[in-house]
């Protein structure tokens, strides 16, 4: 009997691996890090020109060296002959990770209830496993600003890298509090308020903002003098802006509102970044004078006024850059953040130029977010967040072949690609 038992055990042991292997077809490709040498590419460093026949050595998540004669050592060699290497692209404002299916409220995590909710932190609500994340990153967009939207102070945006399984693994080192600056413009063509109502609402909103700000300033004063305060999380977060620990992302679009915002920012002495800025071209000099950086976009949108030239949105970033404004580009999208390079392409075509547009989605973004020591260009010592492509990443036909985020080579696959693989030649076809 004992002998029979051991035969069964033995049989089970032999069969076990067979059984487990037979359950699944195919291998799951995971992001992997290590040592990689990307060889024989044109390296577009952004900050230090282009290197022909160049190589980039990646070790432990960092760019170890960039140059023409780098020996592989024990690194995995990836031949990039005829290809180009670019730093990962930044989207300066999106809902990627904060929403899964746009029309379903259950999946909308970007707009909290309330007008003053600066303490709502995007980083805690980003879904690292959103289907849209792998869909986005294979385009070379590696880093996005996850931005809450809605009320006057809708929350705190967070810069994330598009690889990792927790918010902390994705965090790219920047947070900022969003202010939707009171506007004299209409929210959309659906907005049917009368001229007077629009004006009255704007005045009321401005008054409201100033009252809240005065309160926050008081709160900050009392807190700095170590007074005992009732717990007030909204004011606590705004106090961080007043102390300068967090910057204010001021969403403002109509020309007149931009001027009011500049005045307000100067009065309150806040560290601010302007976002949206759709009509920035009308007051570009004033923005440049105020030395405020701008995150603008999408370019692929309609002019704000019927009387505007058809290309007003396409030419806006170029006009801002020419006036001397530091420009960053955003899609303001969620599932189609992958269109960021095309937005930059349109900006380039309509006056910005390719070089400046490339900066707007790389080094400018890194500088505005205060992480230029780690990201935004291909330089030794920076994070290995970069990609390999067949050419200019803004050009529509270009193919991206490898994407590295923090030294991890991420899989060049996603649901869109898998559906292509399954359905290009369906089996069975028309007849079963």
């Amino acid at each position: 009997m004992k002998k029979f038992n051991s035969i069964i055990y033995l049989l089970a042991l032999i069969l076990l691996p067979v059984v487990t292997q037979a359950q699944f077809d195919g291998e799951f490709i995971k992001p992997r890090n290590g040592k990689f040498l990307l060889q024989n590419a044109t390296v577009v460093t952004v900050t230090k020109g282009e290197i022909k026949n160049g190589s980039v050595l990646i070790v432990n998540g960092k760019i170890e060296s960039v140059g023409t004669n780098i020996s592989a050592g024990d690194a995995e060699v990836i031949d990039c002959t005829g290809q180009y290497i670019y730093p990962g692209l930044f989207d300066g404002g999106s809902r990627l990770g904060l929403v899964e299916v746009n029309s379903l409220p259950e999946t909308q995590d970007f707009a909290e209830i309330g007008q003053v909710t600066p303490n709502m932190r995007a980083l805690v609500a980003v879904n690292p496993n959103s289907v849209a994340i792998p869909v986005t990153r294979v385009s070379g967009v590696t880093t996005t600003l996850a931005s809450p939207s809605g009320g006057l102070f809708p929350g705190t945006a967070a810069l994330i890298n598009l690889n990792g399984y927790t918010g902390d693994q994705m965090y790219a080192g920047f947070e900022g509090v969003i202010l939707n600056f009171p506007t004299s413009a209409r929210r959309s063509t659906w907005d049917r308020r009368s001229e007077e109502e629009v004006k009255k609402d704007a005045e009321q909103a401005q008054k409201n903002l100033n009252e809240i700000w005065a309160k926050a300033t008081k709160y900050h004063e009392l807190k700095s003098s170590e007074a005992e305060l009732t717990f007030y999380p909204e004011m606590d977060q705004l106090a961080k802006v007043i102390s300068g620990d967090l910057p204010l992302l001021v969403e403002v679009n109509a020309a007149e509102d931009i001027l009011s915002a500049i005045k307000w920012i100067e009065e309150k002495k806040v560290r601010a970044i302007l976002t949206g800025v759709a009509e920035g071209w009308r007051v570009a000099d004033k923005i440049a004078q105020a030395k405020l950086p701008v995150i603008t976009g999408p370019m692929l949108s309609i002019p704000t006024r019927q009387s505007d030239r058809f290309d007003a949105a396409y030419t806006n970033p170029g006009k801002l850059a020419k006036a001397g404004v530091k420009v960053v580009i955003r899609t303001n999208d969620a599932e189609n953040v992958r269109n960021l390079p095309f937005n930059a392409g349109f900006a380039a075509a309509y006056g910005m130029g390719k070089e400046e547009a490339l900066k707007a989605v790389t080094i400018n973004a890194a500088e505005v977010f205060g992480i230029a020591d780690k990201m935004g260009s291909i330089e030794a010592g920076k994070d290995a967040t970069l990609f390999v492509s067949s050419g200019d990443p803004f050009e529509t036909r270009t193919q991206v072949s490898h994407v590295f985020i923090d030294g991890y080579r991420v899989p060049m696959s996603n649901r869109h690609i898998k559906l292509y693989q399954e359905f290009l030649e369906r089996s069975p076809g028309l007849e079963k």
């Binding site: 899964e100 299916v101 746009n102 029309s103 379903l104 409220p105 289907v131 849209a132 004299s184 413009a185 209409r186 929210r187 959309s188 063509t189 659906w190 907005d191 001229e195 679009n253 109509a254 949206g276 759709a278 009509e279 692929l300 949108s301 309609i302 704000t304 006024r305 019927q306 009387s307 505007d308 030239r309 058809f310 290309d311 969620a334 599932e335 189609n336 992958r338 269109n339 095309f342 392409g345 349109f346 380039a348 075509a349 309509y350 803004f394 050009e395 529509t396 036909r397 270009t398 193919q399 649901r415 869109h416 690609i417 559906l419 292509y420 359905f423 290009l424 369906r426 076809g429 028309l430």
Partner: protein
């Protein structure tokens, strides 16, 4: 008195001319262009002569007297872009009052003042298919427009040679509006299928009642009572008789397949599926039984029924021999359909010719106008666009757009403000942070639970 007569005659002439519907036809000679014919390859350094609105000659060293000549050396000439799904220049989009409203006509609500027409021209689009919305299983009849911007007469925009088309809609939109919004059928995809099938059966009965009446009339001395005229059912009869092309808003593979089967049962072959995000899953069926699919390049995840989409849809459909076009359904996107078409080179690596066909000859086929437009061929209408670079490049900028040989867009000559109507009540021009997309659910958003969404996102 004689003078007054002449004056009156002159006024009458002025009034009379537009009512004739004679739209402007132009002549132009475009020289030395790289001509992307779409149907006959690329012709380097070639001239195209348009006379009185029609492409007269394609060749080298052409000359013509008394015709404006444009030197397009180093530039690209392609056929006017055709958008098979648009709501630009429409005052209203949805007659959302019943699951079947086939009697409604979009021709009645064309707004020639919409500056969106000019913006479309600035993106090289010369023809758009102005459609009813997607609130109903069977919506209204659409109208194909030529972008003759500048006229005050809606009829000048009609492409009168185009066959009749009608909007159908499946899935979430008709079930939300009727089932969940009004508690009447359809609430499910079963209901949508049944509504359409029932509609066709009723139309057959209606047709039969007229046939019976007409037969009875022939009897000597008979005085039969005619059936009551029903524009709704008559339109469905016209569909069954092959006089109207169906353009069906659809997303999921199952609903597409169900309507293909319904159409096969009723002998209908004139059907194009629009949006059709999951068309790639039933590509062999679409290729075998329909006039193809008109898709977005990359839109997905804006609602649940487009969650399982792929940006490779157009490429998969094309490689499976489905007639495929890329449409806008948006006043924004219509301005860069050339770029949307180019996305099939990133997602699926289609050839230049395949990609350009998606916005020219293929939508022309789906609208039943491929014998007149959609490619650069002698005898076709002179709808043309000049680009500074290859139109599939992200850096390409349309330079001039012609409809019937008449130039309606010139990047170097046009004023910044191209409105032809200004609001009489606004003292300050309104600024819109977001323009709502001209979309399929326009006018029925009050049925949505999450109304606020439509302020800043798609709801196609």
């Amino acid at each position: 008195m004689k003078k007054l007569n002449i004056f009156i005659a002159a006024i009458l002439t002025l009034v009379w001319i537009p009512t004739q519907g004679q739209t402007n036809k132009g002549s132009v000679l475009i020289k030395n262009a790289t001509v992307l014919t779409v149907t006959n390859g690329t012709l380097e350094d070639t001239d195209v002569l348009v006379e009185n609105g029609i492409i007269k000659k394609i060749g080298k060293g052409l000359s013509a007297s008394n015709v404006t000549t444009i030197d397009a050396k180093g530039k690209y000439l392609m056929p006017g872009i055709i958008d098979a799904h648009s709501h630009v220049a429409l005052d209203a989009v949805n007659e959302a009052t019943a699951p079947i409203t086939s009697e409604v006509q979009m021709a009645d609500v064309v707004d020639p003042f919409d500056v969106g027409l000019y913006r479309a021209l600035a993106g090289g689009v010369t023809i758009s298919h102005a459609m009813h919305g997607s609130a109903n299983a069977i919506g209204g009849q659409n109208i194909t427009l030529k972008h003759r911007y500048g006229t005050y007469n809606p009829e000048d925009l009609y492409m009168k040679e185009a066959p009749r088309t009608i909007k159908f809609a499946l899935g979430e939109n008709p079930t939300r509006v009727h089932g969940r919004g009004k508690n009447i059928q359809p609430r499910t995809r079963m209901g949508v299928e049944a509504i359409i099938r029932n509609g066709f059966n009723e139309a057959l009965q209606y047709k039969k009642s007229w046939e019976n009446y007409n037969t009875a009339l022939k009897q000597k001395g008979a005085t039969p009572i005619p059936p009551k005229h029903d524009a709704r059912l008559q339109t469905l009869v016209d569909i069954l008789d092959g006089k109207i092309i169906i353009h069906c808003h659809s997303y999921r593979a199952d609903e597409i397949y169900a309507l293909i089967n319904t159409c096969r049962d009723f002998g209908i072959t004139n059907i194009v599926f629009s949006h059709v995000n999951e068309g790639f899953k039933v590509a062999p069926e679409l290729a075998a039984y329909t006039m193809g699919a008109s898709v977005f390049a990359d839109w997905w995840a804006y609602k649940f029924e487009v969650y399982y989409s792929t940006a490779y849809n157009a490429a998969i459909l094309t490689e499976n021999n489905v007639i495929t076009s890329i449409n806008s359904d948006s006043g924004e996107l219509i301005r860069h359909l050339y770029h949307e078409a180019a996305k099939t080179q990133r997602y699926g690596q289609l050839s230049d010719e395949q990609a350009l066909a998606l916005i020219t000859i293929n939508p022309a086929k789906q609208l039943g106008i491929a014998d007149k437009v959609g490619s650069i061929e002698e005898g076709k209408q002179g709808d043309l666009v000049i680009f500074d670079e290859h139109p599939l490049s992200v850096y390409a900028i349309p330079q001039m757009t012609f409809v019937d040989g008449v130039k309606y867009f010139d990047i170097h000559d046009d004023a910044d403000d191209m409105r032809i109507k200004v609001s009489a009540t606004d003292t300050v021009e309104p600024i819109f942070l977001k323009e709502h997309d001209h979309n399929c659910m326009h006018g029925v958003d009050f049925f949505f639970n999450n109304f606020g969404r439509s302020l800043f996102q798609h709801s196609h």
